[in-house]
């Protein structure tokens, strides 16, 4: 992943071929950031301009604008080039406001917590 001659850029693993393109960056904590790649180095540290975080809960989604982001390479899982011809998300997904996505996130978390407590009670009963 070093600076290569322009012809080589498209053959190498260098991120140079993604410069100035709109990308999706997946982070180790599961976050999805989108933005335009302006800079990078050999550790996959990257600079995203016009970054936003995409929150997805079920079939709802929301983009939260963040601005200019420098991402430390160790947190990067995957950098994907977004095909502008294709739909970014399945057509059944709807865009909602920040408040609504936060509410959906809370509801989802509460449901998971409830499932956890139910299981604990079942374990206490000790079936089988």
């Amino acid at each position: 992943m070093s600076w290569a001659a322009p012809d080589d850029v498209f053959l190498s693993t260098s991120l140079a071929s993604y410069l100035d393109k709109k990308l999706l960056v997946l982070l180790r904590d599961g976050r999805k950031l989108m933005g335009i790649l302006r800079s990078f180095d050999q550790f996959a540290n990257v600079v995203l301009e016009g970054a936003c975080e995409r929150l997805i809960v079920g079939d709802l989604y929301c983009d939260i604008p963040l601005g200019l982001y420098v991402i430390r390479g160790e947190n990067v899982v995957l950098i994907g080039e977004l095909d502008l011809e294709k739909e970014e998300l399945p057509s059944n997904m709807t865009r909602v406001s920040t408040e609504e996505i936060r509410r959906a996130q809370r509801a989802e978390r509460d449901a998971t917590d409830l499932k956890g407590t139910m299981r604990k009670r079942m374990e206490f009963l000790d079936f089988d």
């Binding site: 992943m1 693993t13 991120l15 599961g30 996959a44 739909e87």
Partner: protein, 93 residues
């Protein structure tokens, strides 16, 4: 450098890369580097319904440190050749 050379020979082949976060991506191996960072082309996610945000990703760069497995085409593995190369490398040649 053995596996780096090995992966370089697989460029152009169809592989499935499974990541440490359980995301599995199938695509044509475009390139590899010394860190075993991988670039894939014409990618599709194995469990698409679970990862809707990956729908419009056609080409991607995967950081080597997050890869768990690379599943190769059976004809892409020459165990004898790899075995010989390992012994050669161990001897320092």
């Amino acid at each position: 450098m053995l596996f780096f050379s090995y992966f370089k020979d697989l460029v152009g082949r169809e592989v499935t890369v499974e990541l440490k976060n359980d995301l599995a991506i199938r695509g044509t191996l475009h390139s590899v580097d010394q860190y075993l960072n991988i670039k894939l082309e014409n990618t599709r996610v194995v469990d698409q319904d679970k990862y809707p945000h990956m729908l419009s990703v056609r080409n991607c760069f995967i950081r080597g440190s997050v890869v768990r497995y690379v599943q190769l085409p059976p004809e892409g593995v020459d165990v004898d050749l790899l075995h010989d190369a390992t012994r050669r490398e161990a001897r320092g040649g």
